[in-house]
Chain length 404, copies 2
């Protein structure tokens, strides 16, 4: 029995196949909606932007799309005109076969950067596999696997909700941070839904939810040239259109989208190569959300905090120091710090002063695979949570043995 | 035969001793000038600031000082009122014994943060050791060793220059980034000179030179709560006072100060714990200095670049990606990239396109202890160089086994 996936969302078909870029593995995913979709995407903040992202940004100016093509094995980044033409060929081939405009195609890539783009293989793959698009459930799994690089498992999610008495579904796939083979940790997530929603409202909601979820995870602090989160909604659930943030249906949809993104984001962190722990960092009672967010990011991406986590060391000094480097107001004398696993939390710092606690007990808690670090800065009401991995000797080995 | 050091600068005496905070090692340094000095210091940018820095900042408002006291073993950070009183007691004790005002004392600390400050031991040490102040050369070495924590060697420098026909001397000591034992990598540098210089000119010069030298090194990307660079000049060389940036003597002094700071900064990088390589990163032909600086910092502190360097991997993709994350304008299509050791440089990227080169030869060059990475961004005339270490499995082990 397979779990529900993209193929369970009304009007969507997909496929995942081997086009020849990667040896022996699926490397081409296609997701198609039988009706035009409103669509929104967020892109990498890296100044070096891969060719497929530049093209997709152009195609999504009208906030519409109908098919998504993603190849793995070659990132099509730093590939110049040859790469641009390759991305365009992907869109053109798919559009032609499906009877769409080029602008209705979302293109994404992941893999090695700076290698010539294997346009011929991929265009051939698109031609061969578009006829195979289906809503049979295994196709969802094929697509989820076809976007992976060095990920060790496929990342999928599905959810449904009642909006104004109508059942609406949503599903997504993602890939994360395998960092051995490609030059960087590309993060991709593709989400589809049959919700009926206004394109501007979708756009805002996607940006807000990405900011709270995918933008709150860290594996090594870099963003890649290829990062993209794309959402396509075909309206086929026929719910009364969501066109105001005042609607109950908007609030439900927003919460479900955020939940699905968070689920996929957490799976990405869990699969961080060479990491041994999943760490949840919460900053409570900050002045404002931005302060809380910056503190979480500074702590979760500090190399010294990450090595301490690997070493099961309740090293509050490193957390305070990383917080002081966050570039926002931080008064450690107001800070309480708690550490533990999913069940127990131990206070190790009280208003900036070390607390006497059972060190052996805390070290035992920090052996767990899921760790919590909570800092209460007692300065306001804002709270943010982020997720990260530890930094292990394996990580360094993985990332040093790969040769361009 | 010992090299010249602080004790060779006219009017300065010093001492380094064991006060009892660290077991068996010297942990208290005192540097004294028989005449009042103009003085300037730069401090950590971390929002969490250690007590001695707060006190020194207050004391240096008048740009004058006459003695510097530094203890190792306890950072006196996150120690609250008890720590503030401890720092004040250090200044008061030294001032009283030397017949100075409290405001004439510079106080610095390095070591563990958040531990109660051992005021009694240190005050006792100051009382016991002030009478030992001497200009015998071994005292310079004692002082250089007394400020170390997990550094593996003492960092010293000396230089002299002719200003308006008069011989002027300058000497400095520094400590770097031993990261096993303390919670963080405190960087301290103390420089003394007998130059006769206007306090405002000194202030500006110190800030500019620190920005080009100590601020261009990275070991793990964090700044500590205790970082401080302090410079004291007693004027006893009796050169015509430097009071304008138009003077030839100013230009010579500035260049010599920068050179000494760079020397000490490079020694700090060389002693980065668990690092196996010294890497020199240069960005050439950038739009402006700030752009060049940000690119150098982004590349030199990228975890993925650092692991590639450990693995002897000429991985230009990671360097381009880190540059794209620098937060400044960067067009990889204009970038040339060169890698090599101190003697050979090989072009690996030409205007953003990979160059065919002898990979085995480059990998052999990257085995060297001193590596150069040069990126020409072909967008202007500005150039900056920075220094960093690689990220090794040893680094992770060191930083994970320490337990608070």
């Amino acid at each position: 029995m397979m779990n529900k996936n993209i193929t369970d969302v009304k009007g969507f078909t997909c496929w995942g196949a081997h086009s020849g870029v990667k040896s022996m593995r699926r490397d081409l995913a296609i997701i198609f909606s039988e009706r035009p979709c409103v669509a929104s995407a967020t892109y990498t903040t890296n100044k070096v932007v891969a060719e497929p992202l530049k093209l997709t940004r152009k195609h999504l100016k009208d906030k519409k799309a109908q098919v998504l093509i993603c190849n793995a094995g070659n990132a099509n980044a730093c590939t110049g005109i040859q790469g641009r033409k390759g991305a365009e060929a992907m869109a053109k081939t798919a559009a032609k076969l499906l009877g769409l405009k080029n602008e209705d195609v979302i293109v994404a890539s992941t893999g090695l950067i700076g290698e010539p783009f294997p346009t011929e293989d991929i265009v051939g793959g698109i031609k061969e596999n578009i006829p195979k698009l289906t809503n049979r459930r295994e196709a969802g799994s094929f697509a989820a696997n076809a976007i992976l690089t060095t990920d060790t498992f496929a990342k999928e999610g599905f959810s449904e909700m009642m909006l104004d008495g109508i059942n609406v579904t949503m599903a997504g796939i993602a890939k994360g941070s395998g960092m051995i083979h490609p030059n960087m940790a590309t993060m991709l997530a593709f989400i589809v839904s049959d919700v009926n929603i206004d394109p501007d409202i979708l756009d805002e909601t996607v940006k807000e939810c990405v900011d709270d979820t995918f933008n709150m995870i860290t594996v090594d602090g870099d963003t890649s040239t290829n990062d993209m989160v794309a959402v396509m909604c075909n309206g086929m659930a026929d719910n009364p259109v969501i066109n105001s943030k005042e609607q109950a249906s908007y609030l439900i949809f927003r919460s479900k989208l955020r939940e699905l993104m968070l689920h996929l984001a957490k799976l990405i962190v869990s699969d961080g190569e060479g990491s041994s722990k999943f760490i949840e960092y919460t900053v409570k009672n900050a002045r404002d959300r931005n302060t809380a967010k910056k503190l979480v990011r500074a702590i979760s991406s500090s190399v010294l905090v990450k090595t301490a986590m690997f070493g099961r060391d309740p090293n509050w000094g490193r957390i305070v120091c990383a917080s002081g480097n966050a570039g926002v107001h931080f008064n450690y004398k107001k800070a309480d710090l708690f550490m533990g696993d999913t069940e127990h939390l131990v206070k190790v710092l009280d208003k900036g002063k070390p607390v006497e606690y059972d060190r052996n007990f805390v070290k035992k808690l920090l052996r767990e695979a899921h760790i919590r670090v909570i800092m209460d800065v007692n300065s306001g009401n804002a709270q943010m949570t982020g997720y990260g991995s530890d930094l292990t000797t394996d990580y360094v080995l993985f990332n040093s043995v790969y040769t361009t």
